[in-house]
Amino acid sequence: MKRVQFEHSTIPYLFVAPQIAIIVIFFLWPAAQAIYQSFLLEDAFGLSTQFVWFRNYQDTIFSPSWLQAAGFTAIFATLVTFLSLGFALLLAVKANEVIRGASTYKTTLMWAYAIAPPVAGLMGNLMFNPLIGDLYKFFNVIGWDFNHKLDSFDAGFVVVLISVWKQVSVNFIFFLSGLQSIPNSVNEASMMDCRSPTRRFWTITFPLLAPTTFFLMVINITYAFFETFGIIDTTTRGAPGGATNTLVFKVFQDGFRGADLGGSSAQSVVLMILVLALTVIQFRFIERKVHY
């Protein structure tokens, strides 16, 4: 194959320079800083620092509070990913079948996309407020002794609910466009081949949505790990007793509230490695099953 060869010039480098600059300034440099910091122990006032090798990592990984946060993050990410994907898929399939008023349904369902996570968190805060929160009152009325300030399950329920609600709209948009890209004649052919709509969904529609689902899974896990910070920060702040601490929130807590820069850096490095490993696993083992 013939390759196009441009004359050597600086212009291509100029074109990629802004992107490179962004990556270097906002990712590589902070990451390098974090790695460097993670080997240091600093006193509370920042007056003296000491190189401590892997002590920060040891302290991090073996501390019960970190393990608790890691456990919660795992459950939280799994729930948020599967619930938001599941609901979004259900809504997209139903909205795709609607003929009358279809665009109203679609617009309404997409709306939540425009809401920033902290705002979603604030809204959730109001709804679960013990004095004026409708959902708080509702759960107590129907006999659930609901108190997310004291009960760790209830607190987890609140953050999962808000995070899922916030993410469903994003997933909905992708699923809907995925559904609409399936040729109508393929659906019709399957109608002639298979009587049961449920079976048709799992044998034809769902496999054809696999590329969308895979993409969304990667996006959603990242969302659950990182972006839900805003929701947690505006609702539970990790309470009660660190039960709703995600790893990211704990990095922030220990670093900026607890002034333990070294420990917090070590945590963020571990988190980075975890997410990296998770993504590699997804591409390795799940993407194989995806038919593009």
């Binding site: 040729p183 004649s185 393929v186 019709e188 052919a189 399957s190 109608m191 002639m192 081949d193 298979c194 009587r195 049961s196 079976r199 044998t203 034809i204 496999p207 054809l208 696999a210 038919h291």
Partner: protein
């Protein structure tokens, strides 16, 4: 093996558009029926109603005397071949062909046997484990047919199955479809807008226009004896020549052109004289003088186009007359030819209604 009956079938879309306005038809066991008509005439809608992909607004459809109006597509025992093949992209050829059988709970061994039989019949045995995107257009078309064949349905439905293929392959597949249908002897309904396909495939042809059947009959019957101007112009290539005329009691008249030899036609109505290009012949005392405009050489035949001398201005579409002759006649442009025709073979239509009068 089944007969199909359509009784007063109508289709009105929710937005008020009427696609099919009352179709009655009986299709016999093993017959190959072609619905032909211009795009938007309702032929595909009619087929899709038989398939169960469109709701029937009025009337009923029966397969083997069983009413199927509200039967789901999968339970009608029909199989369809789509224009764009509609293969399941995530399944292999084998998967595509066995999907319908699997859903009907057929034992695995039997499925394998049937799929392999159909594959060898269609000569796609070597591709059974490939994905549809690794196949050429013609091969995909075969797989789509294979998917229909393995089902052993009562009725085959074809929705313009050849229009995505190139011209050469289309002719080849056309012959193959005909051969397969003969061999399997399954009642088939085939939709196309291509009149050559329609003529060559059909046992009987239904010419559809504006949601109604204009005429139904064997291809040669429709060619020789069209009931309306629409059928006359739709069937046959090159198109029938149409000359707007009036009748003065003895002759057909257009401007200075006077054509004798007609009787029993209404006077003072606008008529159309239709003559097939191959019914014209060169003759010294012929009725027409043709001024040669274009000569198309098709090898064995020449098509000579031109305007008739003496006629008044008419629609640009009908202004050109076509004369089909063999390759030996090659007149120079702008010269004139004296042409005649046998009045027995001329057709006269009423212009308003399009009905045949003679």
């Amino acid at each position: 093996m089944a007969n199909v009956q359509l009784n007063g079938v109508r289709k009105t879309y929710p937005n008020g558009a009427i696609a099919v306005r009352g179709v009655d038809m009986t299709i016999d066991d093993g017959e190959f029926i072609v619905f032909v008509g211009p795009s938007g005439c309702g032929k595909s809608t009619l087929l899709r109603m038989i398939a169960g992909l469109e709701k029937i607004t009025e009337g009923d459809i029966k397969i083997d005397d069983r009413q199927i109006n509200d039967v789901s597509p999968a339970d009608r025992d029909v199989a369809m071949v789509f224009q764009n093949y509609a293969l399941y992209p995530h399944m292999t050829v084998r998967g595509n062909m066995s999907y319908g059988l699997k859903n009907r709970g057929m034992p695995k061994a039997e499925i394998t046997k049937k799929v392999e039989e159909a594959a060898s019949l269609l000569r796609i045995g070597d591709f059974l484990d490939r994905q549809p995107n690794q196949l050429s257009g013609g091969q995909r078309q075969r797989v789509a047919m294979g998917r229909a064949i393995v089902r052993e349905p009562k009725v085959f439905l074809f929705d313009e199955p050849l229009s995505n293929l190139d011209a050469k392959l289309r002719v080849q597949m056309r012959i193959e479809i005909k051969r397969l249908q003969r061999r399997l002897n399954v009642t088939s309904i085939y939709v196309t807008h291509d009149q050559t396909e329609a003529m060559t495939l059909a046992d009987r042809l239904a010419v559809i226009n504006d949601g109604k059947i204009e005429q139904m009959g064997s291809p040669i019957e429709l060619y020789k004896n069209p009931a309306t101007l629409f059928v006359a112009s739709f069937i046959g290539s090159p198109q029938v020549n149409r000359l707007p005329v009036t009748f003065d009691g003895q002759n057909l008249v257009n401007g200075d052109l006077v054509i004798p030899g007609f009787t029993g036609l209404p006077q003072k109505t606008r008529l159309v004289l239709g003559i097939r290009p191959d019914d014209l012949h060169q003759s010294g005392d012929g009725q027409f003088t043709l001024r040669v405009d274009i000569v198309e050489q098709h090898g064995a035949d020449n098509l000579i186009y031109g305007a008739l001398r003496g006629t008044e201005e008419n629609d640009a579409d009908d202004a050109e007359f076509c004369f089909k002759t063999d390759h030996s006649l090659l007149p120079a442009l702008e010269t004139t030819l004296q042409l005649g025709f046998d009045t027995e073979r001329a057709m006269v239509f009423e212009q308003e209604s399009g009905q045949r009068l003679l």
